[in-house]
Symmetry: C2
Subunit: 220 residues, 2 copies
Amino acid sequence: MRWTKGDRDGGSGGPAGPRGYHHGNLKEALVRAALELIAEKGPAGFTFADAARWAGVSPAAPYRHFRDRDELVADVARRGFDLFTAALTKAWDDGKPELMAAFDRLGRAYLDFAKHQPAYYSAMFEAGVGLDTDPQLRAASEAAFAVLRSAAERMVVLVPPQGRPPALMVALHVWSMTHGIASLFGRGDAARRALPMPPEELLEAAMLIYLRGLGISPGR
Amino acid sequence: MRWTKGDRDGGSGGPAGPRGYHHGNLKEALVRAALELIAEKGPAGFTFADAARWAGVSPAAPYRHFRDRDELVADVARRGFDLFTAALTKAWDDGKPELMAAFDRLGRAYLDFAKHQPAYYSAMFEAGVGLDTDPQLRAASEAAFAVLRSAAERMVVLVPPQGRPPALMVALHVWSMTHGIASLFGRGDAARRALPMPPEELLEAAMLIYLRGLGISPGR
DNA sequence: TGTACATCAGTGAACGCGCGTTCACTGATGTAC
DNA sequence: TGTACATCAGTGAACGCGCGTTCACTGATGTAC
């Protein structure tokens, strides 16, 4: 029988304990290693050998699962986009029960992801992984954006038709603002700037002003 | 006599040509080397020895000018903030002759800097240089933000007093939006996302909507 | 149920390489007199 | 103006180290019969 995903070491992470000749779950362990190491020292701050060491295997073992370090980081990014998409989808919940509340939840879910999954967020947006290297990665990234876009589509319908902007543009505005706040203030790393208010409030205020500018009043 | 800054190699960059025992301008040459290498391979993509090689000196030479690689990158970031501040200050020009036009120029200058000085921008915002490592760096970073902040102060005065937001918050909104657009779409590197319109237009549209939300009409 | 065999996943030793850093040194520059 | 000397900036050789990568190998697992 094979090990079920994640049930080694009690699932708690950390360098591997004693085990047999076969690791049984090395691919997942390497991904976890990459996440730990990215969280510690940034997406460029670790080596393929570091990841192997963290997982408790010889430096040659990772080659059974990834061509090189870049492929490992790209895999982390892809998994990150999948989780991100799931989190955004759940928060948005198709705009139910009320559009504005759902929109607010969506923004908070974005910041929340950046804050609590900084390693994934780094791999996705700051590791310099080209989206072109892997079609699956591109698809995962586009699925995440699609959630923002469909939310934007529902929002613009509330705008009086004569001044209605393209939904795509609104989605890009929301994405940019949120990403800007997340990367400047939203994470726990050393490069973060100090802020006189929580990032969530900064974003909420920005979105209220922006929506008012579109002609959407928060009342409905 | 010493070499004047920048007049070696015709000022064109590139590995050094023949020279005497003393380089004469090594510190500046190392900074230029760092910029070239950051532009090529990202802020984490080069070594101290690479910079020395690029400048045409032995691997030990840089130690006369920088304690280590981090100090070199921090120096690049500091210089970047100085240039950035100068560019923003010039574009804003104290809101003359007309606030809205000046505000538009300011945003464009920001994106322009990110686009044409991607290496500086990287060192400033993405190299993981802690602002705390160097008081000069922090001061330079704050000077840049001060330009945005003083522009925001002038803008909020146009808002009817009963709904006037804190200038600091407006400055943070502008900064976040602009930084978000710049990092997602504004640079020429491989990680950039495709965009159906120029980043400048995306930003301008966002700012118009945002200002309308504040109650400021573009007309004046 | 047992056994032979194929496949798979990880080993560990080996290699060449470039890095960071140090060191005593040396060539060039500036300055006191 | 000349000269001795101090200071400075870069040299080049050396070191230990860890990395990336390869290789023949071996232990474990799964499966055909």
